[in-house]
Symmetry: D2
Subunit: 359 residues, 4 copies
């Protein structure tokens, strides 16, 4: 299941230390002029080595398009692309060829498939998400031409949680700091925390919030294609994600209906709800309000500390962290959340459009 | 998108106040002896009027099978079934034909489709989930024959949260009380709270936890078919669900990798992890530990209090709660969570099996 | 695999002698006013007992809609429907419970599924196609509102082949005789042949031609979604179909490129091809010319003569034809070909529309 | 729709004169040792320039695997691969940038997509089928390990038709001549005909027959997943294919049921049918006999003669054949038919296996 989407579809391939990763985007609207620099810019937001709080691995992460684009515009043919793996350092991983790193996919891949590319996690590596960023960046350009804007940011790192109301958040500030939290004071605290965690050879989790503005009313395909179910699926498919909540989410379970219901109002700017606990989706269909949701990332499993584990014969071994890993994956995960959100929204935009026949 | 699943697939149809709801189950293994009473028993767990803390609507919810079962056993042909709508009382809903109830799907369905069956929420009604319970009950029987057990229970209602360790929970107690919380003391508190809320004409949310035991190692199809992504999709497609978390979920974002990692151990009962923050799934694939996840339900949107809203011309109206609704949907949602979990697990069991060729 | 289509999807269920057959139509455009009488009229064209040259079984074949239609219009919700099996006469089939009829699906179903509803062929009976006619009749109404017309007719029965040029065929004559061949003289010959075959207790095959007029340019989704590949798949899924050819088909293999190529011409009525050997589809995409294709039906396998066969223990048995079967399935298959063509064309119309974003 | 298959899936990308063509194979069984030379050998059977009766274009057609194979064995991860386009000579095609070649996809692609890579047919070029040969060659190796053998050959070129009974055909002779007809005398006649046609600057069509031996009983998924419907879909998706027939096909429509029915017999080698007019498939499910079908290829549209056509403004133009094209595509299409057949059979093998649960 390496394909995602219904109409606008990404098929992804590639291992962390193989020849290349890449993908095929099928169902992209034709005759659309793409800005290839913007696509690379999104990849650069995900790239290792971009700041002192992320892994210092060097990967150029240059995307190379093989098909589907002609004279700068999409042709409606599938867009094939690759990103070559430059900095493979496979030696780093020989020590884990026969052992199972704790809370990694080594054990489950080995059991399921009987044969496993252990180098850097192989297919289970988050390196795969670069392909999603390519597809998402294309989707974002098309959505942008339709006026739809998607912006994600780091909401929390460990206990440091930006609990501002959405109206107080300045989304234009997201990339103004290396942790991608739009509040400068909180961003600095997060950066300090991550640096401390890194010195301990440890890692830390956090949450990303994504906000989608100007989504038209009507996207989402009940019953099983509810828009937030598709967004949840998309987010939960990202490495290290353990939770998803839309609108008031888990917090909303503490409240009464009389407090949670979003009342409709027909004001000067048209029909809107006075509150937005629904998170912009009602009955699985967008209602024109901002869509927002939170995504929970566990701490990265690779730590620079010795851990007990077992090898494939079941013998006890000590796993010693090596290589250059992220103390906190959140800053680099922001463009991945953006990308998956964009793929879902464009896909459901196209689906909704399919059934609107002129009468 | 009224079909769910890859190999074992449910297609669902029907409105709250139409002739009947029903479904078609495709891809069911053949030659399997079904216990039809057990299927009806699961429907009865979801049925209105089962206790004093749920809606007092009367619906027999008798499932009638039309195909796919012959001489008590599945034939491999699609299993068609219907549940007739007995107690339609469509008059109850005439007052909302032209108005949009707050935090319901009235507005979004109306905008998306241009024409809407407003009676009782029509297609957006949670009545649709009865079809899922039928399919899920069949899946559960097949899983049970494979030794896999799925048990869900009410973990929290409002602020009342059963924060026990899994080892302390007696899953055999789930149906020993009307709220379906396996801890008697907590159950009584929840029941009191729900009764109080009902008297206020209000509603309250909560969470359900689902535990899956004896799931074999190897279920899940990375990258986009991660097992918890499929479970999340399934749960988020249930009416009123606003959040999903697997394993330590949102709580786990507060901790360090050194605290969260689940260390492997080869003990007397084979390879297991010493902790289970992963929730039984690593890299999107089941690892043999208990799978567990939480599902957040918002408070029911229909309250017995006056609420401001608008009609389809945009005029302000007052919506006055009528009919017989649930003050808390959680007790009746337990079999729905069970059902969707069973559909996912069986589907991925079959998928995993597909690719295991003898060599 | 009881679901067909991408956007406009039919899921079919039911056995020949079960409680009912039926289906679920998902993805139907909403707010479309349906003429239910026209749907029943198409079913009546497929119904047993309609004339002296078809089976004399009595089945009312009354469709009953359960959902998805409200106040006469589609709501966008799935359209569930059933057709009850009235005239089951299961006794007729007890003699074949343990034996395999030649060139039927008895043997293969038995081997594949391990358990089989043998009554009247069960799931393998062509009775299932009634569900397709319902969905196709709905698709035809929507297509008709878009100006697209689909007409099928019996082109050949045995060696009697209507080898007229399309321009010489009067499609309005199709239903003017009981064999559904638009040429009166040929129709009479076909009827005589079928009556003779019936007296012999034998059966005969033939071909149906389908013509689709006013299909807009641009339907079809290369590479694997070529329009004629989808049409071929649809036709080959009909019981007894053994061949499909588009445009000049098999005959075209005998000719040279210089003879087969369809030259473009920009005449008074716009761009058209001077010939139409392509059958209205080039590169898998409709080109605006008439789409036409032929479908080959083998003779019905059930004959009123004794045939040697085996039972499930492998013992030799004599199968003696009983019941009321069709000497020639072609006249009743015409509305089935119409239906499957309509489902494909509407589905690809919606697919094509999905990707046309405003720019 | 550039993805084909249900469990074993090929996603294809690439244009004739882009950077590369390629594909992604998802769902391949893991831990299978691949012979990469055999894959290249199949590509070489499709490659231009392989003999004097095919196009003299030079393309190395070297496949390069990017992922999914580790230490010579499949890992269960998607197998990404590319074939670089070496010999692009895009100048050859500038003359058709603005004109529509007769019976090509130039017009329909242009109308559907609004923007088209005209170089060498772009996405509509049969060059795309090289990706299918790669996936098919992998499928064939897996099928071969299961004892299933797939062999296609040229049955007819124009009127030259090898009308031998299957028992008289020596499938080991297929590659003993450049036209891939297993009868030496007929092969020589075909070669002479193709050479004559080439001298005329013309092209000629023909048919390919495919025979599948040792297919186990039980493959095929009724109703819409009948095995021959899937095979038909697969074949009709190949460039230039206009017809498909299984078993006795169109010829069988001329006969009576008493002549066509395949009688079962329990002989010394188990249960078999005495004849095989069904073509190895009954009720959409394989019955253990040889599966065989014919595929009709129209003559190649590109001829070396002047043809009238129009440009994109609708002006009349003369299209003059240039470049190096095939006078007859049949010899090179044999491995493509093999490949698509193998993909279908493996896919349905895996599907069938999915639902066989141990009880």
């Amino acid at each position: 299941m390496n394909t995602f989407g219904n109409i606008f579809k990404l098929t992804s391939f590639g291992e962390s230390h193989g020849v290349a990763i890449g993908g095929v985007i099928d169902g992209c609207p034709s005759n659309f002029k793409l800005d290839l620099d913007l696509i690379q810019a999104e990849l650069n937001r995900r790239r290792p080595g971009q700041s002192r709080i992320v892994t210092q691995r060097k990967e150029g992460d240059q995307v190379k398009f093989l098909s589907g684009i002609f004279e700068g515009k999409t042709t409606g043919a599938p867009i094939g692309f690759i990103i070559e793996n430059e900095n493979q350092k496979s030696k780093d991983y020989s020590h884990i060829a026969d052992s199972f790193r704790p809370s990694h996919a080594d054990f489950t891949y080995s059991q399921k498939y009987g044969h496993r590319d252990y180098r850097g996690g192989g297919r289970s590596s988050a390196r795969e998400t670069a392909s999603r960023v390519v597809a998402g960046a294309i989707a974002q350009q098309i959505l942008s031409s339709l006026g739809i804007e998607i912006r994600s940011f780091v909401k929390s790192v460990g206990h440091l949680d930006l609990q501002l109301d959405q109206s107080e958040i300045d989304l234009s500030n997201i990339d103004s700091n290396i942790v991608r939290c739009p509040d400068e004071k909180m961003a600095n605290e997060m950066i300090s925390l991550i640096e401390m965690i890194r010195k301990e050879g440890d890692t830390i989790g956090g949450t990303i919030q994504c906000i989608i503005k100007n989504c038209p009313v009507g996207l989402g395909e009940p019953v099983f294609g509810k828009l937030h179910a598709a967004l949840g699926h998309a987010m939960l498919s990202i490495n290290a994600v353990k939770g998803f909540e839309i609108g008031s989410g888990f917090e909303g379970t503490l409240h009464k209906g009389s407090e949670q219901n979003d009342l409709f109002n027909n004001g000067s700017n048209g029909i809107h709800t006075l509150t937005n606990n629904s998170g912009g989706i009602q009955g699985g269909i967008s209602n024109g309000e901002n869509i927002y949701f939170n995504v929970a990332f566990k701490p990265v499993a690779t730590i620079m500390q010795d851990q007990k584990s077992i090898d494939k014969e079941g013998n006890e071994v000590i796993i010693t962290g090596k290589g250059r890993h992220d103390p906190c994956v959140l800053p680099r995960a922001v463009p991945i959340v953006d990308a998956m959100a964009a793929i879902v929204i464009l896909d459901f935009y196209l689906l909704d459009q399919a059934r609107k026949i002129a009468r």
